[in-house]
């Protein structure tokens, strides 16, 4: 194991000036009273109070170094700006504040599952999160904190938020077709399945889907005339600009899918151009989350021995 991996996380007290100053002043007064009154018992009680204060102020450091927090479960999909939930377990009581991505702080009881709500502001794929763990154990006199990176059991794919596109980034020559509605027919290329509606032909029933969902499903086809709309999402570049583009693309795809148009999305994922049809908004979101520059790439996979400890 490398020295970096073996290194313990750094802990620091939270705003220590006031409590430490108060404690020192209190103990000085105590000593002065002991020596002015000449009482050994005052000194003894003062020594015990000093012990309590020291345990209360330095204890959290040791508690924090021994603290292990693990993410036991997490949402697979999320949307930028909407909360995503992680389930955590800690070896001792502590407070967890998500730093990257941000979110609401939460308190964890020892060895009991707790929920941490993240609010990722950008799309992307999160394989770890950065949190601040705080503890004041065992006496609650002073909080100490350390920053940790927690590995997620499964990556959290954060889709961009849907935003109405001002200008549809369609591929050249397909603008007119994109504006037209697809004609659904009984014959032609299979587009998908949908729920049975009165008037549908029994021949159109798609039995595998029916068996799978438990409700009657029918095949939906489209004619050759219904040509898919190709959306090209070039999300390489600055984070802010690409975020806006991704949101617009998501909005476009959402509106196209709502209009029952088939959409082909072209993205660059991990340096490879991927051109594929998207079936629904979720798959479009996943594709857009993986596309281009990952804003959460710096979190990356955690170093062995450090993540979660």
């Amino acid at each position: 194991m490398s020295p970096a991996a073996r290194r313990r996380p750094r802990c620091a007290p939270d705003r220590p000036a006031l409590p430490v100053g108060l404690a020192v002043a209190l103990l000085l007064v105590w000593g002065a009273v002991a020596h002015a009154s000449g009482s050994g018992w005052v000194q003894a009680v003062g020594a015990l109070v000093t012990g309590l204060v020291l345990v209360g102020m330095l204890g959290p450091r040791f508690a924090l170094r021994r603290l292990v927090v693990e993410v036991t479960d997490s949402d697979r999909d999320g949307t930028a700006g909407a909360p995503a939930v992680l389930e955590l377990v800690a070896t001792s009581s502590c407070r967890v504040t998500p730093l990257r991505p941000g979110g609401a702080p939460t308190s964890l009881a020892a060895r009991r599952p707790g929920r941490l709500e993240l609010a990722p502001e950008n799309r992307g794929v999160l394989s770890a999160v950065t949190v601040r763990l705080s503890s004041a154990a065992p006496l609650g006199l002073l909080w100490w904190s350390s920053t940790r990176r927690l590995e997620l059991p499964t990556p959290l794919v954060v889709a961009p938020a849907e935003e109405a596109a001002e200008r549809l980034p369609l591929a050249a020559g397909e603008a007119e077709e994109a504006a037209g509605a697809a004609e659904l027919t009984d014959a032609g290329v299979l587009r998908g399945v949908r729920g049975y509606e009165v008037g549908d032909s029994p021949r159109q029933v798609h039995w595998p889907s029916t068996a799978h969902t438990g409700t009657l499903m029918v095949r939906e086809s489209e004619t050759e005339r219904d040509r898919p709309v190709k959306v090209v999402a070039d999300l390489l570049g600055e984070v802010e600009a690409t975020e806006r583009l991704a949101s617009e693309a998501m909005g476009t795809i959402g509106s196209l899918l709502a209009a029952r148009r088939s959409v082909i999305l072209e993205t660059i994922e991990d340096g490879v151009v991927v051109v594929a049809q998207v079936a629904d908004a979720r798959s479009a979101g996943r594709r857009l989350a993986r596309a281009g520059t990952n804003p959460w790439a710096d979190l990356g996979p955690p170093s062995p021995g450090v993540g979660g400890r």
Partner: protein, 704 residues
């Protein structure tokens, strides 16, 4: 930018109610420990302590019940009450300010904190309020600690510490929203660390010296005026009763050292106990001198006519004590505060030369013998402070000095009295001269050292010595008789030997510092620490202390008796009341737990009890129930083995009762059947047991 009003409003904004019962109980216990600690050292009167105890418990219960919706009118009433209590406290301080004593502030302060705790207990809905109670309890324990002088304070501190630790642990749990109580392991670990840190600090920090912050302590618990300027022993049935003369050969009870009463009769046999008679907080330990004797008559030390005179010091505390004649140079100050535990003679003790005395009386009597006597009885609880100016000089300095005594001083009554002898003591003189000659001692200091060395090498220390026969000289008997004695015989022998060599010496008596208590920073003087030593006059340096007893080895003791005495002494010093209370509570709790456990384990219903009894009887008859056996099978086997009639039917009835689907209703007559069967099994089992025993006895006899 937030305004002050907004900050105040924010600080007083209601916080979530605290639901942890353990946190509340721990806080209550810490508060009660503080109140009882203050009562134990006399800072709270028992009635107020009882009121505070009850009120705090009731208030805490009230706060717990109303924690979710605290009443605003309660807050208003409590705030007004606190203001009233604070006004009363300020008034008490101002009225007591002229005395300048520490106790005059501590007592109202303890009262203030107790009242605040009582009032505050009714408005403790949240964690923040409970933490305030814990802090106030800590302050109360500290205030009580300022007046604590013995180890009996330790149980209160221990209870407060544990309760505070549990309270803080619960507070931390509450911060994280955890409802469970803090783990015993983590609390024990924290307690251990706190204890170790405190121990290290106590080792490293200098022990507090006698109080100088305000005025030096002095107080009386009762004012019993004495008649005359004599010394009253303080060990009689009444503190003002004059001392009784000791009887040679008679043994004297604990604490009643008669040497202070005068004369100091060396024929008396002392049997002083280990009761603590005084506690002393001193800058430096030393010989706490009570008085000196200058005239020896062969059996007793007396005061000469010059020594007997007294003078009255008027004016009230603090008293400036005039320097004694031939006192020598003045060294550094030594402040000593004495806390009296047992009735004592009306003598004030102090190292070397007392220069200032803090004692709450209008006058003091100073004797020419150096004693300081009080016009009131010294009863338990009396506190006084003596500021001494030490004149002790190092042995090396004394050894270098060969100055003769100036003629004017040599003719002074004090020196003449310090050379007085009732007769010539030829044997003692010869012995002393031979010792000095052998040691080639030239200076006075060397002579004293040589004589001390000889006494150390040739005598033994023991308090168990035979009585002095009538007309016998105590020094002759000690030096040429059994050579065993205690401080009186040993110091008298040295003084007389020095006098035979024309070196002025006198007998000094007082107390030596007992064991040092590191917690209270006090020397615990026990009755057996009463001591006699020798003061030798050195020109230019005055009277210097020499303790020949320190050189004398102990006579071979009785190991068993010494062990028993030590065990008794240690047991006697334990704080039995708190230990008894805790042990009693523990025994009650254990008894209750055990009874509850037994109640839970006891089979429910007559059928289950009958099954248990049947199994026991069967086992006694040598037929225990097998784990794989049903009750009916066991009944059948037992019926055949014993034999016991109707047992199979009875066990079938029991089984019906135990496993029937209708809840185990038994048929009429089942109980009678089972009872009869069990009686039969019991009779058969007894018979079998008796038969077996008889057979075993016969077999043993046959073998032998």
């Amino acid at each position: 930018m937030t305004t002050l009003a907004e900050r105040v409003r924010r600080a007083n904004a209601p916080t979530p109610p605290e639901d942890s019962v353990m946190f509340r109980v721990a806080t209550t216990v810490a508060v009660l420990a503080g109140i009882l600690a203050a009562q134990s050292v006399g800072e709270l009167n028992p009635l107020l302590a009882l009121l505070a105890t009850v009120t705090v418990c009731v208030g805490m219960a009230f706060s717990y019940l109303t924690r979710a919706h605290p009443h605003q009118w309660v807050k208003l009433v409590l705030a007004l009450s606190v203001l009233g209590v604070f006004a009363f406290f300020v008034d008490s301080i101002l009225s007591a300010a002229h005395t300048g004593e520490l106790a005059s502030i501590e007592v109202p302060l303890a009262g203030l904190f107790s009242w605040v705790q009582m009032i505050h207990a009714f408005d403790v809905p949240s964690r923040r309020d409970l933490l305030f109670s814990l802090a106030a309890a800590t302050a109360l324990v500290t205030i009580a600690g300022a007046q604590a002088v013995s180890g009996s304070f330790a149980p209160y501190v221990a209870v407060w510490l544990v309760a505070t630790l549990i309270g803080l642990g619960c507070s931390w749990r509450s911060m994280t929203g955890e409802r469970r109580a803090p783990g015993a392991r983590s609390l024990l670990g924290a307690l251990l660390v706190v204890f170790l840190v405190a121990l290290m600090l106590l080792v490293v920090l200098p022990a507090p010296r006698a109080a100088r912050g305000l005025s030096l302590p002095a107080s009386l618990t009762s004012y019993l005026p004495l008649v005359g300027s004599g010394i009253v022993n303080g060990s009689g049935p009444h503190a003002t009763e004059p001392a009784r003369a000791g009887k040679p050969g008679g043994r004297i009870g604990v604490g009643g050292y008669l040497g202070f009463q005068g004369p100091l009769d060396t024929a008396n046999r002392q049997s002083l106990g280990n009761e603590v008679v005084m506690r002393v907080r001193a800058d430096r330990p030393g010989y706490f001198l009570g008085l000196t004797y200058d005239t020896w008559n062969g059996q007793s030390w007396l005061h000469s006519r010059t020594d007997r005179g007294t003078s009255i010091l008027p004016g009230g505390s603090p008293f400036q004590i005039p320097a004694r004649p031939l006192a020598g140079p003045q060294g550094s100050q030594n402040v000593q505060t004495f806390y009296v535990e047992k009735p004592l003679p009306n003598l004030l003790f102090g190292t070397s030369q007392a220069s200032e005395v803090y004692f709450p009386s209008r006058s003091l009597v100073v004797g020419n013998d150096g004693s300081i006597r009080t016009p009131v009885a010294i009863t338990p609880g009396t506190v006084y402070t003596v500021v001494s100016v030490d004149n002790e000089v190092s042995p090396a300095t004394l050894a270098r000095d060969h100055r003769p005594i100036e003629p004017a001083i040599a003719d002074s009554p004090s020196i003449r009295a310090a050379l007085q002898l009732p007769y010539r003591y030829p044997r003692v003189h010869a012995l002393a001269r031979s010792i000095v000659r052998r040691a080639h001692a030239r200076s006075t200091e060397a002579v004293v050292q040589a004589l001390e060395g000889w006494i150390g090498a040739h005598t033994h220390y023991s308090t168990d010595i035979p009585p002095l026969r009538p007309g016998e000289d105590a020094v002759d008997e000690f030096l040429f008789g059994n050579r065993t004695g205690y401080c009186e015989q040993i110091s008298t022998a040295l003084a007389v030997m020095l006098r035979t060599l024309h070196i002025p010496a006198r007998e000094a008596i007082g107390y030596v510092p007992g064991p040092f208590d590191p917690l209270s920073s006090m020397y615990e003087i026990q009755a057996k620490d009463a001591h006699a030593w020798v003061q030798v006059y050195f020109p230019g340096y005055g009277w210097q202390n020499f303790d020949p007893t320190a050189e004398v080895p102990l006579a071979p003791p009785n190991a068993g008796m010494a062990l028993l005495a030590e065990v008794g002494r240690r047991l006697g010093r334990l704080p039995w009341t708190p230990i008894g209370s805790v042990a009693g509570a523990g025994v009650l709790a254990a008894g209750a737990t055990s009874a509850e456990r037994r109640r839970r384990r006891r089979p429910k219903g007559w059928a289950a009890r009958a099954v248990l009894r049947l199994e026991r009887l069967g086992a006694r008859a040598g037929e225990p129930r097998r784990p794989t056996e049903t009750l009916a099978e066991y009944g059948s086997r037992l019926e055949a083995a014993l034999p016991a009639p109707h047992l199979a039917a009875a066990t079938a009835a029991l089984e019906r009762r135990a496993y029937a689907r209708d809840g185990g209703r038994s048929a009429p007559g089942d109980a009678d059947l089972v009872r009869a069967a069990l009686a039969a099994v019991s009779a058969r089992s007894h018979r079998l047991t008796r038969w077996r025993r008889r057979a075993q006895t016969k077999a043993r006899r046959a073998r032998s």
